[in-house]
């Protein structure tokens, strides 16, 4: 039957049928993709509740036979440690506390620093066209460099060049390797482009006439930023902070290369359970993995809506 011979009723039915098939296919594709993405997370959570014997049984058990909190008890244990042996003791006890503390400290300070610097840089780029018309895009390309390229050269700076230079020049050896300052610095630098980019979209939306009005009423530049611009981009700053915090939280390569054992973030700690010295302790590893993932998911859901706006490359406006 050709289209010309179809009566309107039939044509409509056919259109509805076709639309329904399309919808089913679309959902089938999305569901299977979701399954692929979600499965490792499901497996991790499931394993975190399994006892030792079930970690690698074959055929695999999808759900723990006898769910246990043993893995969690182990990672959250406060072991009473001999202070002189603290490092080794911490390593023996799979405890999450040291890693958690380091991760929270480093990620928070680095995200705050990047936010502070990035906001003012974004303001300068937005209002004074610093760096020219395309500077904002150039900034983002910094993120296109593979982290491993940076990691090795930074390692050489941190572990060799800076210690050598400082001892030669000042007589004291200052090393940034395996220090909080070192990791915070590199995290601040690597996330700065994101902060600039996101804050630019928020600051661009503040009409400059607001600043003009404030200046005509006698406010200086700093007052204008403090009383007019910052309050208006405050929610954007919170979103940006959380986003950058998540980035730092999930960062592995730089932390692995530039730290440990003194500074150990959670992702590095997680990796330890795969190493030859610790064996393959899937249970505690899965428990830690779950604990790391929870804040990412919670924060991610909180800022999801704003992220679309922040990364819409200026094409979507309210």
């Amino acid at each position: 039957m050709t289209a010309a011979t179809l009566n309107p009723e039939q044509a409509r039915a056919r259109r509805i049928r076709r639309e329904r098939v399309r919808r089913i296919v679309r959902h089938a594709i999305l569901l299977s993709w979701t399954a692929i993405i979600v499965f490792p997370i499901f497996w991790m959570i499931s394993t975190s509740f399994k006892d030792t014997g079930e970690w690698v049984t074959w055929p695999p058990r999808w759900l723990p036979h006898a769910p246990t909190l043993h893995n969690y008890a182990q990672i959250f244990a406060f072991s009473s440690m001999d202070p002189s042996l603290s490092r080794q003791a911490a390593e023996q006890a799979f405890s999450i506390w040291k890693g958690l503390g380091d991760a929270v400290l480093v990620c928070t300070i680095a995200a705050l620093l990047a936010l502070l610097l990035g906001t003012f840089l974004a303001y300068a780029i937005s209002r004074f066209n610093v760096g020219g018309k395309y500077f904002r895009y150039t900034t983002l390309t910094i993120r296109m460099i593979p982290p491993i390229v940076v990691a090795i050269s930074i390692l050489i700076y941190y572990a060799v060049l800076i210690p050598y230079a400082t001892s030669a020049l000042f007589g004291t050896r200052i090393s940034l390797f395996d220090t909080y300052v070192g990791l915070i610095l590199i995290y601040t630098v690597t996330t700065l482009p994101f902060v600039i980019w996101m804050m630019l979209t928020f600051i661009d939306e503040v009409p400059y006439t607001l600043e003009h009005a404030a200046r005509l009423m006698g406010a200086g530049r700093i007052t204008v930023i403090r009383r007019v611009v910052l309050p208006l981009v405050a929610s954007g700053m919170v979103v940006t902070f959380l986003f950058v915090f998540i980035l730092n939280w999930a960062e592995f390569l730089l932390a692995l290369t530039l730290t440990h054992p003194e500074v150990t973030t959670l992702t590095v700690l997680l990796n330890k359970f795969q190493s030859a010295s610790e064996g393959r302790l899937y249970g505690p590893q899965a428990a830690i993995g779950t604990m790391i993932t929870i804040p990412v998911v919670v924060l991610g859901i909180m800022i999801q809506k704003h992220l679309v706006k922040g990364f819409s490359f200026g094409t979507i406006r309210r």
């Binding site: 006439t209 003009h212 404030a214 200046r215 005509l216 006698g218 009383r227």
Partner: protein, 357 residues
Amino acid sequence: MAQISIEDLVKTFGGYTAVSGINLEIRDGEFLIMVGPSGCGKTTTLNMISGLEMPTNGRIVIGGTVVNDLEPGERGLGMVFQDLALFPHMTVFENIAFGLRIKKVPDDEVRARVNAAAAAVHIQALLDKLPRHCSGGESQRVALARTIVTNPAVFLMDEPLSSLDAKLRVDMRTELKSLHKRLGATFVYVTHDQAEAMTMADRIVVMSKGRVEQVGTPLEIYNRPATRFVAGFFGMPTMNFLEGTVEANDGARRFRMAGLEHPLPDAVPAELAGRMVVLGVRAEHVLVGDDAAHPGTAQLTEPLGDATLVHFDSGQGIRLVAKIGPATAIQPGSLLKFRFASESCHLFAVEDGARLF
């Protein structure tokens, strides 16, 4: 004293000249309106007075002080912006109080002055609201109150009524004018709306392409436009323009073009004889009636209620507009006869549009 002198003011952006050498005296207590099409440099001039733009060249003197190097906040001005620029995160009260807070005025005085300013524009009931909960007209008043509260000697306004609907705009016009009377301050107002300029201004500055075309009272501007541009810019509908020559026979001056002749007043200088000119006639001075000399064909009528506009072809492919009484019924396509009221015509030079008579 809030007299403003603008001397040889120039502003260029890269290769583009926005304002090219303006001289202007704004009198103390005057309501001066700068008007012109978009891109004529009026807003740039206003921004240079306010200090938001630095002049490329020239001087601005406010109350006897050269203000070129003063910060915007140090010039003793108040400004109302086109988008009003109310701070969205502050209540109406805090918006109005902002300037006083910056100047560290004591709390009691802030409260008293904000209330007084709010009362002046009848918005006492809005003080606790956020700007986004105010209507267009209310926001307008908040912006005014915020400017009034600091008692500036000069009010700068950049198309403040453009965001309002037509009815409200007319109401606000009246209100602004009475506010100006009450405050006695100098108002410098920028608009592209000739009706705003005509109704509110003590004097109008007409600008085009970064230059001042004419400065004068509304009636001077309307009745004796200095250039063809001013003549065309003011008046609804636009003035009719016809190109032709001036003839002088036995003392009687005439304007002549192909198929059309029009007697000119005797006061037209004899030197113009033989010269190509542009004759300008306003629609209300095009008279339509049986006693008229020239035939034409009506093409379109626009009833305005109190009058009707008739667009017609004068026979030479030249379209003219006449404003006639509402009772006269002319149908599109019908023939009519027209003439120009002889005393009310303007002559402009063909080359530069300067007024010849």
